[in-house]
Symmetry: C2
Subunit: 166 residues, 2 copies
DNA sequence: TATCGATATCTTACCAGTAAGAGACATGAG
DNA sequence: CTCATGTCTCTTACTGGTAAGATATCGATA
């Protein structure tokens, strides 16, 4: 008994035996897993009054280290969404007192987005729990298989040019 | 030199050495890859006047076999989007003459969504090219590594309950 | 056969994100 | 010093999807 993608592949082999559809076994699974994992992670953060997009910004700022601030442009590069989406996220998060906009002393085009004390506290309280939740989602893989999986995924990401966040 | 996720993990190890963040190496990569692959595949279909959501419906109907029709409910289960989204997709695709709604003879609650001749032609013309494009996206992996990757992803999907499309 | 819960599709109000570009500011070449 | 070009953030109009529920129909049971 396979997974949902095995069913898709069986159907294609019946309908289009002339095409070797092996890439579907990788691409289709990555897409389905991404959706399932995103839903699970969203459920986790929602229990604490956050959503995925807010958690994305909070974690990006937190792991950047003291003083926990980045420009909107840096957040765009780290996030895989457009600048318009980042502006809106920041607007929402300012009203929730998770981040604040502080003017840049040197370059007046630039704004710095800084974690508030509340934002810092929120993500620090949640981070270990969030990682524990991701560990639970991956518990079907032992550590060796997980490492092998991560290696193969890294190879793909590098080949697609995903080598930097800045 | 690693990928973008290696940079994220290095940052976390510096900022939160108390947390073992190994799951990020899998979850983060699946999420980034899903976005990158989706963008690439969207670019591919856009060259032929389609978008991802339309291609999703066309492929689902095509691989279901003669007479190339499914109910909206079956499309919902195959697609990972809500029924409202499927209704809208069908509306758009009807105006583009890719599918048609045909009443079900037996159950009048049910509608059958059927590929038109144009829809059938469109997906049949594109399918082999689409698979060739996916093959290109995965060319960094040889066939053995791709099989191993697919196996690990299948294990995860099954553990998360993703075993059927119906 | 009348009724009631289950099922199937569609509707409505809303929202996050996108694409394109506007506006403000910086900077280097001449 | 000036101006043209580049950079940075934000705005606007739009779109695809969601959540919740309305509407219509089916089917089992008393």
């Amino acid at each position: 008994m396979g997974d949902a993608v095995d069913a898709v592949m069986d159907a294609w082999r019946r309908e289009r035996p002339d095409v070797d559809i092996w890439p579907v076994g990788v691409v289709g699974r990555i897409q389905r897993l991404a959706r399932l994992l995103e839903t699970e992670i969203q459920d986790f953060f929602r229990r604490y009054g956050l959503d995925n997009s807010e958690a994305d910004v909070l974690t990006t700022l937190r792991r950047s280290g003291e003083p926990y601030e980045l420009t909107p442009g840096q957040l765009v590069k780290a996030s895989m969404v457009t600048s318009g989406a980042i502006t809106k996220r920041i607007d929402r998060m300012v009203t929730k007192n998770l981040v604040e906009r502080v003017p840049d002393a040197v370059d007046r085009r630039t704004v710095r987005i800084r974690l508030t004390a509340h934002g810092r506290q929120t993500i620090d309280d949640l981070f270990a729990l969030h990682i524990a939740n991701e560990t639970r989602l991956l518990q079907a893989l032992d550590r060796d298989r997980a490492d092998g999986l991560a290696d193969a995924l890294r190879t793909l990401l590098q080949s697609l040019g995903d080598t930097s966040l800045t």
